[in-house]
Symmetry: C2
Subunit: 688 residues, 2 copies
């Protein structure tokens, strides 16, 4: 059975208009062998894995300032201490992830770490937190990007939500096409963003120092409003909780260690260091400039809104070309940071689906080698969040912070458990001390992130945090229910025995007929190839006097056209003809009763229901058909019982060509067949 | 095979929540034997078949006045002559339909008459006209009913469209449930409507005569506006065209002659006479009162709108209890007149579908013995029209008039052709003269309605008439295209030969496998019942190193679990195992190629593709499945070619019960089987 389908290849496929459209929009299908990506170094690692962390600078400080603004000038002054705490926390996380990279060089995601160390329940908690985190990363990234855009072009303010959804649609399309080459494209905007804002910080800091801490803004920010609230602990806690979103995304490096070139661990650690240092400088700088220039967060729902970054750049450097380059780079990296979720969530879902906690379609690899269902799931949920919250970053922040810090805590706790296991295995005192230090570091990380998480939950509960808190247990229950179904299914299908062949008795074949035509002929002919026991079942869906005469006509035709020639061909065993009436016009009802009768009387036989079906190849054929055959087929399969099979005999109005079913690439693929038993049979034949 | 399903009946079905809901909303299913309706007399005939015609009084005169109002007082005075022309036309139609009733006592609808006498093209024109007419009758009836309602309760004015759509939904539901008992319910509002308005006319005419033609209105109508336009021919033509809608619906009696008690023709003619006389008196009376009381049509889009009937009743009798009874009866009969379309259109569509000009689903009888698709089609199209025209009667009138008069003309022309045929068959001079008179009457009817139609088209073209004019050819082309498809299908399936049985060679069976489980076992077992040539096809959807090892494992398992026991059971003929790879992850691609190879090498064998399928019985199972089996089945059926069949082997997680598939009524139905050949075989056995 060698491949000799050369003529097919020359002939070429004639794709339908729809297929042609899909090909243009989605690109040609990719073969499995086309997967795989190059290993990356530090220079590519920063944009590929650091985007998410670095872009947090665009919304983290702004989120804190949005709360502090209520306390006016006093609030602005409090940004310094809050940012200091955040930077300390960032340092703790840095050291913790430094260790995770070494311990889990394959994939140090919170799900893997929790699954390996904390058991199923913890891993499901991690999945729930991660899924929320990924979805909110998309929503927040896009909404913050659009906030940058409407700062630069205020006339776009009324279109905030459509702009968000448009960017989401573009990201979805780009990811459905597959973004294998995208890594390098990300480098330019990432380094541009870092460069621009380091320059802004340098210029601003110089101006500030040169003017004794009171620089003259080029474009002054709006005046600091009167304090509406006294600066108290509650305000500070809430500002800290919001500001914590500045740390989101720094776990990305630990998830992607295996993407690095050798030596992987060293490269990953250097990349992480670069990212954390850059993030720290940017956060500290932005906080300093906001305080010296008197920049507070504005209300994104109001026209004339300016993001904090936009106000700072405007105050430091004016609204020239540099302003547009800097804000443009912020817009691009925020959208690209949303893109990291499109890479991460589908892969996470695929892993979870393979473990049987998410529906199997999440693990299906699409035509462009991406997990389409995961991508579409992300689009739908992020789009829903954007729509519900009108694309306003500030409203999404509380939800985001909880998801992110729950993920941190799960990952750190997992590492603590990991080191405890190692500790139990390590015999030497020196080794044990080394491990104890590491355990301590991760324990500090776990405690710090847990403390931050608790603060965030308390401070943000009424501001939307309750949504996340409520969603997490629902997601866990859902994952458990899904897993339960797959377990039951697995259990029912498990088979460890040898195949038991019963003495092969041919099946009882029922051939469904309604009219007398070539399709019925074909079906009867095939039925008689299968078994000597063939019964044609005529379904009179409507009772009445004219149906009685119809029955007579069919009986006469049966005797003349079928019975005689069958007796000649088969030597006396002619098929039977049986009439069933369906007074309620549901043709499966009498058929199921007949099948039950037959099953009772023939406990050792299979009942094969043979259904002739006209093949529909166009949507309009679907509209023009009564779908009796497919409804009958479904009823037989669903309710027929364990000893029933359905045989569909197709009839084509125009002969089908397999070329129509295959893509150009599939047709070009050489046809290989690996036949196990053929070889053995040949050997046996040679022996005989 | 007698019925012994007593235990099933006692056990009873456990319907799903959805099925229970449907049962409450839609009612229990009806058996075929429950169809049939009682014959009616004149008293029931007037409400059953006259509603449509009589309710036209509510919008016909108003439609004329809406145009005449532009000419102020002079326009109002012109209503008299216009109504006179309309009444003459009504007389002509009356005499014409008097004849149609005798000539077509079964069903004298425009479609039947045109099909029998004028050929296919004319009958399709009639179908197109009727379909438009029926849909617009619903839209106009409901919108005029709501106009009456908002006249009586002006605070409902802002909800015009929602009220229209609500009534439409109620009518749809009532008709989906079946409205067999409705006929008698219609009598009360119909006679109440006739009685009320005859009383209004009598009181108003007396008051007018007593006051020398200038009665004092109880509630005065708004003052007649200044003339915005001079009274010219063009205005009169447009007013006449709109007023013609007062005649719509009088064809109903001729469509329903067979519903009458014996003597059918006499009863039908008396009913027609009663309806036409009542309609004539009402139209003349309303026109007279409108002129003497100075009532003009108001703009339905403006708050404070009062329909012409409401103004007249208010002017004559004030706004007491009588007013609300009269307007209430008008509201009810307008909605019920919309209901006549729900009876007529689905039946028309069923007839046309049986002739192959509409999709077959239009001929499917639903669970309540009604044609559900036709009803839903009517709801969607009428709802669309109401939504587009905001539920304003005046905007729908131009479309309606064209459809109705085209139907009249088609029906009358058909009758002319009918009498010409009769004339050719009649030998006697006396008989010929009698027929010539009848031909003359219908010819006058045809010419008069054609003339009216042309006037309407010219006068109403820009006011929306163009929509109808454009729709009609589109509908005809669509009907033709549909018929063409069915003809091709019929042609391809027609079979006049004896069944040719080829020497029965068992099929080549391909068993699809992916994992090794009970489902695969069951499928292999069944395959070996069918044929000695069984090949298990393992579809490796993903290539890669781990798949290679998977292949090795499967080979070993195959040898151990399948091959040995098969050789023992079948005497040396073991099934083969074959590996196919699908590098583009579409598993049907390599399978179709394999099938093509097999078909080429075995030109005399059928190829049966055996697909094990897990049966999904809940919507959430559908979400949790990858649907590989059903996609494979569809690909095999669609592209496999003429010698391929698909065998689906179902696997149930929980054993199915046929009780779940059947309704209570179907379970209670005794199981009857009429077996033709069993009897003959017994006779043969007795002889031997």
């Amino acid at each position: 059975m060698a491949a000799d389908d050369k003529d097919d290849r020359d002939q070429g496929a004639a794709p339908s208009a729809l297929a042609a459209c899909v090909r243009v929009v989605m690109g040609r299908p990719l073969a499995n062998r086309e997967s795989g990506s190059e290993a990356i170094g530090i220079a590519e690692g920063v944009p590929a894995l650091g985007l998410d962390g670095l872009s947090s600078t665009a919304y983290g400080p702004e989120a804190a300032l949005a709360i502090l603004g209520a306390a006016g000038v006093a609030g602005l002054a409090a940004l310094g201490p809050i940012m200091l705490v955040i930077l300390v926390l960032l340092g703790v996380l840095f050291v913790s992830y430094w260790q995770t990279i070494e311990a889990y060089p394959k994939s140090g995601g919170a799900y893997s770490v929790a699954k390996a160390n904390l058991g199923v329940n913890a891993s499901l908690l991690a999945v729930a937190a991660l899924m929320i985190d990924y979805v909110l990363n998309v929503a927040v990234g896009i909404s913050a990007g659009v906030a940058a855009l409407i700062s630069a072009a205020p006339e776009l303010h009324p279109y905030t939500l459509p702009l968000c959804l448009g960017i989401l649609a573009l990201l979805t399309l780009a990811n459905l096409r597959g973004t294998t080459e995208a890594g390098r494209l990300f480098a330019l905007p990432t380094y541009l963003f870092i460069g621009c804002f380091l320059a802004v910080i340098a210029i601003g800091a110089y101006a500030s120092l040169a003017n004794g801490g009171h620089p003259h803004p080029v474009v002054p920010p709006p005046p600091t409003p009167e304090a509406a609230e006294a600066l108290g602990w509650w305000l500070l806690l809430r500002a800290f909780a919001s500001g914590c979103t500045a740390m989101t995304g720094i776990e990305a490096v630990s998830n992607g260690v295996n993407a690095f070139r050798q030596p992987q661990v060293r490269n990953a650690r250097l990349t992480l260091t670069f990212i954390v240092v850059a993030l720290g400088i940017l956060l500290a700088g932005i906080a300093y400039l906001a305080m010296t220039y008197g920049v507070l967060a504005m209300d994104q729902t109001q026209p004339g809104y300016q993001s904090v970054l936009s106000q700072i750049v405007g105050a430091v450097a004016g609204r020239g070309v540099f302003y547009y380059v800097a804000i443009g780079s912020a817009l691009v990296i925020l959208c690209l940071s949303a893109n990291t979720s499109f890479v991460g969530l589908p892969r996470l879902c695929q892993m979870v689906a393979q473990d049987g906690f998410l529906p199997a379609p999440f693990a299906i690899v699409g035509r462009r080698l991406v997990y389409c269902i995961g991508i579409l799931y992300l689009t739908v949920t992020a789009g829903f969040l954007l729509a519900v919250f009108d694309g306003i970053t500030d409203r999404l922040i509380p939800l985001f912070a909880i998801g992110a810090f729950l993920t941190f805590t799960m990952s750190q706790s997992g590492m603590v458990a990991h080191w405890r296991k190692k500790l139990a295995q390590a015999p030497q005192a020196k080794e044990r001390r080394r491990i104890l230090v590491k355990l301590g570091i991760n324990a500090v990380g776990a405690v710090a992130t847990l403390a931050a998480l608790l603060i965030i939950i308390v401070a943000k509960f009424t501001a939307g945090g309750w949504i996340t808190i409520l969603t997490i247990p629902c997601v866990i229950v859902l994952l458990r229910v899904i897993h339960h179904y797959y377990e039951i299914r697995e259990e029912a299908l498990r088979d460890d025995d040898q195949l038991q062949f019963h003495p092969a008795k041919p099946p009882l074949v029922l051939v469904m007929t309604r009219e007398w035509n070539r399709l019925t002929d074909k079906a009867l002919g095939f039925a008689m190839e299968l078994s000597p026991d063939v019964t044609a079942v005529h379904l009179a869906a409507l009772e009445g006097s004219d149906v009685q005469s119809e029955e007579k006509r069919l009986r006469a035709q049966w005797e003349k056209d079928v019975e005689k020639s069958a007796i000649v061909a088969q030597g006396g065993r002619a098929p039977q003809l049986v009439f069933l009436s369906a007074p309620y016009r549901r043709i499966h009802a009498p058929l199921l009763k007949l099948m039950k009768e037959l099953a009772k009387k023939n406990p050792d036989r299979t009942i094969a229901v043979l259904i002739p079906e006209l093949v529909k190849r166009h949507w309009w054929e679907w509209l023009l058909s009564t779908h009796r055959a497919s409804r009958l087929r479904n009823a037989v399969l669903e309710y027929g019982g364990p000893r029933v099979v359905a045989i569909v005999v197709p009839w084509h109005l125009t002969p089908p060509k397999i070329e129509d079913a295959l893509t150009k690439e599939e047709l070009a693929e050489p046809f290989r067949i690996r036949n196990v038993l053929r070889l053995r049979r040949r050997k046996r034949a040679a022996k005989a």
